[in-house]
């Protein structure tokens, strides 16, 4: 096994974050070629319990997706991401860079500060550039951590509306409207009442 392959393997293993080729090269002795070592390493881990994964322009080691059931025992507690958070996150992913006003426009409800803070804290979204519109509002974009978590190489890999529809994810009928939705700012208009309540309790 090439010495450079060993080095890349060790660095990717020990690093808390995905590592870019540039950083690998910077950390390895002068004259090393991380990109080439990565090719070999990726091949070496094919079909194994862990594999080399590219996220954004960085690399990381990840356990094979089909073995995720093995990680179940370690689970202690999780909080389900609220519907409001998922929708906000989806909008940011599909429309980035996007302002808070635009998110509200798309969701049809205002976005609570807590939702945005939660996503920021999870490091799934971050602030992007300010928009060149009046008030120069800040925008949100998804992070490398987000791509990492959802196994995406880039946000462009998200399926489009057409694909969603053909995959049956787009309902063609409008959901029933419940005019009595609570107006807690961040609530869904079309969700059932109990859903709204569970959101209240989860946040």
């Amino acid at each position: 096994m090439g010495e450079q392959e060993r080095m890349v393997e060790a660095v990717l293993f020990a690093s808390a974050e995905p590592v870019s080729v540039a950083e690998l090269n910077a950390r390895m002795p002068h004259g090393c070629d991380a990109a080439e070592a990565l090719v070999h390493l990726r091949k070496r881990y094919e079909g194994r319990g862990v594999g080399l994964v590219k996220t954004g322009n960085a690399y990381a080691m990840r356990t094979a997706a089909d073995l995720s059931f093995l990680m179940q025992k370690e689970t202690v507690e999780t909080r389900k991401l609220s519907r409001a958070a998922i929708e906000t996150l989806a909008i940011i992913a599909y429309h980035q860079p996007v302002t808070r006003a635009e998110i509200e426009e798309i969701r049809g409800v205002s976005v609570s500060r807590g939702t945005v803070d939660q996503l920021l804290e999870m490091e799934w979204i971050r602030f992007g550039r300010r928009k060149m519109t009046p008030g120069r509002p800040v925008t949100f974009v998804v992070t490398q951590g987000f791509l990492d978590h959802f196994g995406l190489e880039s946000a462009r890999d998200l399926p489009g509306l057409k694909e969603l529809r053909s995959a049956g994810l787009l309902e063609n009928r409008p959901p029933p409207t419940l005019g009595i939705a609570l107006g807690l700012g961040d609530e869904d208009q079309d969700g059932a009442v109990d859903e709204n309540q569970s959101e209240l309790f989860e946040e």
Binding site: F13, I106, G183
Partner: protein, 272 residues
């Protein structure tokens, strides 16, 4: 206990001072530190024994005892306060010294001077061995310094979130839900009956200045939001949420006398 013991190598054994090499003297001068620097009498003895330059097994306990007693004398002369255990050791060594020097008394009970000396030598050797072992241990390859654990362990929570709480599917479904709604329903209509928490906050902040006494939070409902049930519910919920927010910010206090009783709010006086 304080200051330094300005002893020189010659003080330990004046006659042999001339014969000591520079290195020996440096070793002996290692003792010129405050007594606090020592980890007890055994540590002093071990340090002193190095000046003998022999295997610890062949060390002269007699000589060591003399050196130690000199060390204590010196400290006393400087009126340094020696901890009790240093003095206890001095007394014990004085006793040992006399036992080693005097011909054994056949009528005397207890272990011989040689036995006592052998045990002291054993203690010194054992302490030295532990120090060497400690040094070897600390010099080993160590986790987090020489070898490393997985930097991003796929923990618990995160993994669960993948499978449970926010999968790619959730994300796409969430997005699909919004887009579908958009295609069929103008959202502008919805906002009519929605009084957002932000609106409620703005309203309450401006009114809070006058809320010196307890008042039902329902009195904060805006004009025109009382009659339509949907609007009233929305406004009530937002007013309530905004109240909680104000409490969190430390600007207001809430109270309720019992289940389903009116919730009351008043301004909280800033603590100064």
């Amino acid at each position: 206990m304080s200051s330094e013991l300005p002893a020189t190598s010659g003080d330990w054994n004046a006659e042999s001072a001339a014969r000591l090499s520079v290195q020996d003297r440096l070793a002996a001068e290692a003792l010129i530190v405050d007594v606090d620097g020592y980890e007890g009498p055994l540590d002093v003895l071990l340090t002193l024994s190095r000046t003998q330059k022999v295997d610890l097994r062949k060390i002269s306990i007699l000589q060591l005892a003399r050196q130690y007693l000199l060390f204590v004398e010196k400290a006393k002369a400087l009126r340094l306060e020696l901890a009790a255990d240093y003095l206890v050791m001095a007394a014990w060594l004085a006793f040992l010294k006399s036992r080693l020097l005097l011909p054994p008394d056949p009528n005397e009970e207890g272990p011989s001077g040689e036995e006592l000396a052998a045990h002291l030598a054993f203690q010194l050797e054992r302490l030295q061995a532990m120090r060497d072992a400690a040094a070897r241990l600390m010099a080993r390859d160590r986790l987090g310094r020489d070898f490393f654990a997985r930097g991003s362990p796929e923990v618990v929570e995160r993994v669960r979130k993948v499978s449970y709480s926010a999968t790619l599917l959730d994300l796409m479904q969430g997005y699909a839900r919004i887009r579908t709604r958009d295609e069929f329903r103008p959202f502008a209509l919805d906002r009519d009956a929605v009084y957002t928490m932000e609106q409620a906050l703005v309203r309450m902040r401006s009114m809070l200045g006058f809320a010196g006494d307890w008042g039902d939070i329902s009195t904060y409902l805006p004009e025109g939001w009382h009659d339509d049930p949907a609007k009233r519910r929305s406004a009530t919920a937002s007013i309530f949420a905004a109240s909680l927010e104000l409490v969190k910010e430390g600007k207001a206090e809430l109270r309720q006398s019992g289940l389903f009783e009116p919730i009351q709010l008043r301004r909280r006086e800033p603590r100064e």
